[in-house]
Symmetry: C2
Subunit: 460 residues, 2 copies
C-alpha cells in the first residue's frame, strides 16, 4: 500500500472524529465584524492554534490591530514550501429568525435528495474548508509521523470584514512568508461532482465621478435649452463606455487581455452553461456582455465596465423641473490577465475628460485599484492538482476564473512573489453568508482526501 493510500484510508477511518473536530470549531461564535464577539474570535484562534500544535506545528497567535492571525509552521518533506491561507472568522448570523436551528450549534441533516450536510455558520465559509486542509495534514502526520511538505499556515480572523489588518501583517512580515506556493481553500467546486481550481481572479478599478456644470441648480423653464446638464453629460459619456457588441470602448482598455488557451476554453465550453441557465436565476435571459463569448468568459476571464451608482437632480416623488448643478456616478472595472489597474484608471479618466465641455468640471475619487491575478495555465502545481482532483472525484477538474477579487491573494503575488493555488469544495447551494449555511459531508470528506492527494503530488 502506498503512503497516499494509507493516508486516504486513515482519513476515511477517522472521518467521524474529523466531523467532531469541525463541530468544536463551529461552536465558537467568531463573528469578526461585531466587537461584541471579540473574545470568541480570540477563542477560535486559540482553538485552531492548539489543534495545529497537536499535529506537530509550531503554532501561535500573531497580533494585529484587529483579530490575531494563527501562524503555524511545520517542517516536512522536500518539495515546494507552501503557505496555507484560510480564515477562522465568520459572517454575522442576521437575520437569526431565519435559521432553523441555532447557528452555532452544528448538526447533521439529510436533504430530500439524500445528501448529508453540516449546518452551522461557518460550516463551509471557511471553517469547514480550512479544516479539509488541516485534517489532511493530521492524517499524514498520523500515518507517516511527519508532513509531506514544509507548511506554514496563515489562518486569519478578519476575512469577513475585509482583511483590513492582514495586508499590513503580510507586508511587515514579508520575508517570513515568502515561500514557494500559496494554497487557498475558500472557493467553490463547479458542481457536486466536478472539482475546480480557480486560476484567475479579476482585478478592480473603482472610481467615483463628480460632474459639475452650473454653480447652482437651475429652473429648466429659464435655462433649459442653453445650460449644460450634468446628468445629460453623465448619460452621454457613460453611455459611450460600451459599443453595440458589449465591448468597452476606452482606448487601450483591452491591453494585456489574452485569449484563453484552446484546451481551457474547450473545457469551459464543455460545461455547457447557457446564458439562460446562468441569468435565469436572477430573472434575466440575455447576456449584456461581449457578443460571441461564453457566459463563463464574460463573468470570469473577460474584463468589464459597470455603472454601480448614479445620483443627481430630483429623485423624490412627482416632478421638479430642475437642471441640477452636479451629478455623481460610481463606475468600476473588473480586470483580467495583465491589465494594469493604474493604466485603466487613467484611460477612463481621460475618456471622461475628453468628453467634458470646457466650462464644466469633473472630479474623480478612487475607491479601488487591485490588479487581476492569473495563474499560468502551465504552472506545474496546477497541472498536478487538476490530475489528482480528477482521480479523487472521477471528473476532470476545471480551471475556472472567479469574477470577483480576493485582495490578499493579490498581495501574495505582489508582496510575497508567490502564486496561489485556489482549490475549494463549496457548492452553489451552501448559503454562504446566509441563514442555514451548510457544507456537504461529501465535500468535507472528499475535500480532505483531495488535499492529501495534492500534498502528495506536490511532494513528488
Amino acid at each position: 500500500m502506498s503512503t497516499l493510500d494509507a493516508v486516504l484510508s486513515r482519513i476515511d477511518q477517522d472521518f467521524d472524529q474529523s466531523i467532531e473536530r469541525l463541530f468544536a470549531l463551529l461552536r465558537i461564535a467568531s463573528v469578526s465584524t461585531d466587537p461584541a464577539f471579540k473574545d470568541q474570535c480570540r477563542a477560535a484562534a486559540e482553538h485552531v492554534a492548539a489543534d495545529l500544535r497537536s499535529i506537530g506545528f509550531e503554532a501561535g497567535l500573531r497580533p494585529t490591530e484587529g483579530h490575531p492571525v494563527v501562524v503555524g509552521k511545520a517542517k516536512g518533506g522536500a518539495g515546494p514550501r507552501v503557505l496555507f491561507y484560510g480564515h477562522y472568522d465568520v459572517q454575522p448570523v442576521d437575520p437569526l429568525s431565519l435559521w432553523k436551528t441555532p447557528p452555532f450549534e452544528p448538526r447533521i441533516e439529510t436533504l430530500p435528495d439524500g445528501r448529508k450536510i453540516i449546518v452551522a455558520r461557518g460550516a463551509c465559509d471557511d471553517k469547514g474548508q480550512a479544516m479539509t486542509f488541516i485534517e489532511a495534514c493530521r492524517a499524514y502526520k498520523a500515518v507517516t509521523g511527519k508532513l509531506p511538505l514544509s507548511i506554514t499556515t496563515m489562518i486569519e480572523g478578519e476575512e469577513e470584514c475585509g482583511s483590513e489588518h492582514l495586508f499590513k501583517f503580510v507586508r511587515d512580515n514579508a520575508e517570513e512568508f515568502k515561500l514557494d506556493l500559496a494554497l487557498v481553500c475558500d472557493t467553490a467546486m463547479w458542481n457536486q461532482d466536478t472539482p475546480a481550481v480557480t486560476t484567475s481572479l479579476r482585478g478592480l478599478v473603482y472610481e467615483e465621478v463628480k460632474v459639475t456644470c452650473a454653480d447652482r441648480d437651475l429652473h429648466s423653464g429659464l435655462f433649459g435649452g442653453a445650460a449644460q446638464n450634468p446628468l445629460r453629460l453623465m448619460a452621454k459619456i457613460l453611455g459611450a463606455l460600451w459599443d453595440d457588441n458589449g465591448r468597452v470602448t476606452i482606448p487601450g482598455f483591452y491591453d494585456g487581455v489574452k485569449e484563453l488557451p484552446s484546451d481551457i476554453k474547450a473545457d469551459l465550453k464543455a460545461l455547457n452553461l447557457t446564458e439562460q441557465q446562468f441569468l435565469g436565476q436572477v430573472g434575466l435571459k440575455h447576456s449584456a456582455g461581449e457578443k460571441g463569448r461564453l457566459v463563463l468568459e464574460q463573468t470570469t476571464t473577460r474584463p468589464t465596465a459597470e455603472i454601480n451608482g448614479i445620483i443627481g437632480g430630483y429623485t423624490g416623488e412627482g416632478a421638479k423641473t430642475v437642471i441640477p448643478g452636479e451629478a455623481i456616478a460610481k463606475v468600476s472595472f473588473r480586470l483580467v490577465g495583465a491589465q494594469d489597474p493604474v493604466k485603466v484608471c487613467d484611460a477612463f479618466r481621460a475618456f471622461v475628460r475628453e468628453r467634458m465641455p470646457a466650462d464644466c468640471k469633473v472630479e474623480f475619487a478612487n475607491f479601488g485599484l487591485a490588479p487581476p491575478l492569473q495563474l499560468s495555465f502551465d504552472n506545474p502545481a496546477l497541472t498536478k492538482a487538476r490530475t489528482v482532483l480528477a482521480e479523487e472525484w472521477g471528473h476532470k477538474a476545471v480551471a475556472v476564473g472567479a469574477g470577483g477579487s480576493i485582495p490578499i491573494v493579490a498581495d501574495f503575488k505582489q508582496v510575497l512573489g508567490m502564486d496561489s493555488l485556489l482549490v475549494g469544495f463549496a457548492l452553489d447551494d451552501d448559503r454562504v453568508h446566509s441563514p442555514n449555511e451548510k457544507f456537504d459531508l461529501k465535500c468535507f470528506h472528499k475535500g480532505i482526501r483531495s488535499w492529501a492527494r495534492i500534498l502528495d503530488a506536490l511532494a513528488q
Copy 2:
C-alpha cells in the same frame, strides 16, 4: 387734450395714492401655501374685491376648495371683452432672517444707482403687477366715468401653490369667462428700458422612467459582464436623446416646431444677448443647446429635453460593487409651437422601449403634459400693445418667449378658446420668490400708464 392724455395725466397726479393703495395690499400676509395664513388670504381677496367695487366693478369672492377667486365685472366701451388675470397670493417669506426689514411692512428704498424701489413680499409678484392694471382702470373711471372696455377680472389666490383649484373653477364656469382676450400681468420686461410682450410659453412633458433588469441587486464580481445593468441602459438610452448638434433625436420630436418670423428673430438678435452673458450668471460659458441658434431661441422658442434626475445603485460613501436591479430617471421636455404633448410623450416612450433588451422592463409615469402656447405674431392686440408700449417706454417692445409654462394660460386657450396677451413689468433683479423682493417705482408707474395705453388702443 385726448382722453388718453387726460388719463395718463390723472395717473401721474394720483401716483402717490397708487403707492398707498399698493402698500395697503402688501401689508396683508396672503401666503397661500401655508394654512396658517388662510384668514389673511381671505382678507387680501376681500380687500381686492372692495377696491374693484370702489371703481365700478361688480366684484365679490367666488369660493373654490382652496382660497377664493376675486371676480369683478364692469361694462365699458365697445371693443374686445377682456379677462384680466392676476393673483393676490404671495410666496412664503423664508428665510425671514435674510430680509432687511419685515416682508409685510412695505417701504420705499433708493438703490445706489438712484432707482427707487418698493420692498415687500409681493411688491412685484403679483400684487404690484396686478395693481398696475387696476390703477389704470381707476384713472379711466376717474376721468371718463366708465371703463374703456368691458372688463372681467379673475384675481386668484393660489398661483404660488400651483393654481390647484383654479383649473376646475375655470372649467366649471367656462361659459361665464369665454370672452375675447385675456390680459395677464405676471411677466417681465426685457430690461429696465425695454418693454416686452410674452408671446409664447413652452409646454411640458414630464416623465418618470423606471428600468428593471435583474430581480435583485447583484454582485458585480459574480454577474458583471453578463447581467444587464439598468444604469448602463439608462445612460445608453438617455445619452442618445441628443445628437452632436444638441438636437433631440426622438423621431417626430420637431413636428409642429416653426421658425420665428424673420422680423421677430431680427428683434431678438438685436437684443444682442450672448451665451456668455446669459450663462455667465450661473458659472457657465458655452451653450449646450442646438447649434446655430440664439440663446434666446434655445431657452424660449425651441423645444428641449432634460434629464431632471437619476437615481440607482450605490450612492453612499466609498465603493460597493453592486449591479443594481433597477434605476429611475426623471426626463422632461419643453415644447413650443404646435408640438403635441401626447405625441411627444408617446414618441419618447417608444424611443426608450425600442432600446430595451427583451428581458428587461421599463415603466413610465407621467407628471406633466401641458401644451405650448403661441400667440400669433399677427394678432392685432399684440400689434397694438407693442406699438403703445414703445410709445410709453421709448424703446421697441420685444416679443419674447417664456421658457417655462403658466398652466392656467394654457387653459384660457384650451378651455375658454381665448388668446392671452402677457405684458409685465418685472425686472430680472426683482428677487421674486426670494428675500427682499422689490418692484421699481418706475415700473409700477409706467406699468399703470402702459395698461392705460393698451386699454385705449384695444378700444379703438
